[in-house]
């Protein structure tokens, strides 16, 4: 067995083990951290496939930004303890069975049928470098690139609107409960500030 295949197998086993651990861990924070392990391993596989730029984007954007967002939301909601009770009964073995059946079929096709069992060539040093990706991205794919920026803007606005606390005034002009508690908190804070200021001036 040559060292390339050995290296790939080690990475593949780490990636699959992390994915399985993510699937079956009972704590959402552990799930997210196992997914980070999986993403980082896949980034190393990208490096061996001649995609250094994509590998680093994978680490910064996926394993960095997106997973931090996940962890942030998990801890914000306090949802890290998952319910032990799973209401699925007969669906669960069926889902696993069908998934394994799909896996078996596709693996059979890829390994024995489709003629894809050819060794990959060793990538040239410039293949997939930031220069080449950038040239492709800003010449041939300029329009999709711009559309993507609009998509990101829309997602940002959507996220802000979805998480905004609704400030609905009742017909009688009475503030909602949220607003009332916030006003109360601000008043308390102002009283505290005043007390501290008094103390300082007295000294």
């Amino acid at each position: 067995m040559n060292p390339g295949i050995l290296f790939f197998l080690v990475l593949a086993i780490i990636a699959i083990a992390a994915a399985v651990a993510m699937l079956f861990s009972r704590n959402a924070v552990y799930s997210a951290l196992f997914l980070v392990v999986n993403f980082s391993t896949i980034a190393v596989i990208y490096l061996t496939l001649g995609a250094p730029f994509i590998a680093l984007v994978q680490i910064t954007v996926y394993a960095g930004a997106i997973m931090v967002l996940f962890l942030f939301v998990i801890m914000l909601l306090g949802a890290e303890r998952l319910s032990a009770r799973e209401p699925l009964t007969w669906q669960r073995p069926l889902a696993i069975l069908l998934g394994v059946a799909m896996l078996g079929e596709v693996v059979y096709v890829f390994l024995f049928r489709a003629g894809l069992n050819v060794p990959l060539s060793i990538p040239t040093p410039t293949f997939g470098s930031p220069t080449e990706i950038g040239l492709d991205l800003f010449n041939r794919y300029l329009l999709p690139f711009e559309v993507t920026s609009v998509l990101l803007l829309v997602a940002m606005v959507g996220a802000i609107i979805l998480t905004r606390v609704e400030k609905i005034k009742r017909p009688g002009g009475q503030a909602t409960r949220d607003e009332a508690t916030r006003e109360q908190a601000m008043k308390d804070q102002a009283i505290k500030d005043q007390a501290i200021r008094d103390q300082v001036t007295r000294q």
Partner: protein, 100 residues
């Protein structure tokens, strides 16, 4: 070097794990993570084919997939926060108000 089919098999295994996760788990956050796993599996196949055909289009497409995944995660997590505010938890079984 490593045959192309090995990368594709790894990609399929990861995709299947993602599918099983979406079908089996009930926590919306974990379902989202399994979606990310499936995106990742598809990206791996793209990168492997990009090297196989000596063509950078696959890598550029992975770049776009990552951008769309980032947008999807932002909106999805915002939805989850909104659901948590109204329902008190994020089990997908609890979000059944539209069920007839």
């Amino acid at each position: 070097m490593v045959p192309l089919s090995y990368y594709l098999v790894l990609s399929v295994i990861m995709f299947t794990l993602g599918v099983i996760g979406v079908l089996v788990r009930r926590n919306a956050l974990v379902i989202f993570m399994c979606l990310e796993l499936m995106f990742n599996a598809a990206n791996l196949a793209f990168i492997a084919f990009a090297l196989f055909y000596q063509n950078l289009n696959g890598q550029v497409f992975v770049f776009f997939v990552m951008t769309v995944a980032a947008a999807e995660v932002a909106v999805g997590l915002a939805l989850m926060v909104a659901i948590f505010r109204t329902k008190g938890n994020i089990d997908v079984d609890q979000v059944s108000t539209l069920k007839g």
